[in-house]
């Protein structure tokens, strides 16, 4: 019965449904949550109610905004630097096989470095008043997916296209511009999209381990430490919003740059 209804839905109804369904789920969850706190009487210390979180959110709006900007800037710098380095090194590794073999273990170790391990080290290395450690961590976290995806993209050129370029006696610069980069572009953009979320998470988590206050991560830990749980949750909501913002902007970038490549439109 449900399937029959679904197949009969027009494309417009389907879009509306796709937007409305998660909103409805969200509203129901918030309703149950509020109900648990106010009617059932779950303690505020265990679970602050949505209403109190919203209240805190509005009351501390200015601090939330400046904290988001601070953490967001660190994440953005990290993402940009990490992506640029990742793309550049991928280009070199694709060009010289020896570089690829030498870098493989280094990249593998970078991929498994826990942020918690690195953050205290960098914070003490670059001093307590520097944002550099956080930016470096965000850059490291961004570097890995961009490097891996871009390198894979550089290897996707079809043999027939390489033959064609050779037949045209194209210079290596021309091959890079007309064949290798356009082939790698969707892979590169996917890498950046994955890296965008990682950059925000890393920049935020790095704040838990000292350094200047004022970022979202620092404020979450400060609020929680002073038992202001609802306020801590309000900062968590802001972090989620920041992460989503990064993800959506990079997703939009990917869609925009792939607009002219019809085969990419079929991607989910």
């Amino acid at each position: 019965m449900a399937i029959a209804t679904a197949t009969r839905m027009g494309p417009k109804t389907e879009t509306t449904f796709r937007v409305l369904a998660p909103v409805a789920v969200g509203v129901i969850v918030l309703g149950v949550w509020q109900f648990l706190v106010t009617v059932v009487g779950v303690s505020d210390y265990l679970l602050p109610s949505p209403a109190s979180i919203i209240e805190e959110f509005i009351q501390f709006w200015e601090s939330i905004l400046s904290a988001s900007i601070l953490t967001g800037t660190n994440a953005l710098i990290g993402l940009v630097v990490g992506s640029l380095v990742g793309i550049a090194l991928a280009a070199i590794a694709a060009r010289w096989r020896a570089v690829d073999q030498m870098s493989a273990p280094v990249v593998a170790s970078l991929a498994v470095i826990p942020i918690v391990a690195l953050a205290p080290v960098l914070n003490s290395m670059y001093g307590a008043d520097s944002q550099f450690g956080r930016q470096a961590i965000a850059a490291l976290a961004s570097f890995v997916p961009v490097f891996i995806n871009t390198l894979r993209g550089f290897r996707q050129t079809a043999p027939v296209h390489r033959d064609l370029m050779k037949a045209y006696a194209a210079s290596s610069g021309q091959v890079l511009r007309t064949l290798t980069l356009p082939t790698a572009r969707p892979f590169m953009l996917t890498g950046i999209r994955i890296a965008s979320s990682l950059a925000v998470i890393s920049a935020l988590v790095a704040e838990y381990f000292g350094g200047p206050r004022g970022g979202l991560g620092g404020l979450i830990s400060t609020s929680a430490a002073s038992s202001a749980y609802a306020r801590a949750w309000a900062y968590v909501v802001a972090s989620i919003a920041l992460g989503l913002l990064f993800y959506l902007v990079t997703l939009g970038l990917e869609r925009m740059l792939q607009r002219h490549a019809p085969q990419a439109r079929r991607r989910p």
Partner: protein, 272 residues
Amino acid sequence: MSAAVEITGVDKTFDTRSGAVQALTGIDLTVEAGEFVSLIGPSGCGKSTLMRLIADLDEPTAGTVEVFGKGARQARLDQEYGIAFQSAGLLPWRTVAANVALPLELHGVASAARSTRVAELLDMVGLSDFADRYPDQLSGGMQQRVAIARALAEQPRLLLMDEPFGALDEMTREKMQSDLVRISAETGAAVVFVTHSIPEAVFLSDRVVVMSPRPGRIQEIVPMRLGAEAARAARTEELREERAFFDMVTAVREALHQGSPVGTAPRGLENR
């Protein structure tokens, strides 16, 4: 005037994990300017390899390949030939027009001259209405026509084609063959055409080079007397139904079987 292609004593050996594989041995072949020559033979006879040697996409182990009196490498650097492969090999992120313009763009043709030439070429292959489409919006036959337009972009005196119609259905294939006969007559280019279809080779060619495998060598060169007096443009659809056409098909088949009675066709060959 020097011949379009002059191949002398060419051997080609590939080093594989299981030892050296002799792909071609003792190849001598001359293709005159403006001549249409097909290379035909069963799978593994080295016909594609031979074409790749002419294009300087691979190098011969022994012997020389000359294109218009130059070494194959120099000829490639001088862009003496146009080339089309079995898969159209269009760049999927470029429109049809931008794909055809690619060689012109790479060789620094000015933008205005480029768009005039692209319009001419698309008109020649009958795809003017599709200039702004992307390759994956076209059928296989249309993509192959774009690839042929691209190969002709710089008015080469030699056209190299590696089974360009191999992946097309029979109807499209015959249409494309007629188009190719017309286009090659219009441009006067020499053509080296790799195929494994006997009727295709017979319909298109001035001479059919029959090759045999392991190691790849030239078995026999069969001159096509049909339309020998007539210009290439006279090879029309009616030709496919003439007696002379079937005689030539039989001649090529027998050459493939080394004169033995024609029974089963060698592997990898089509009789359609």
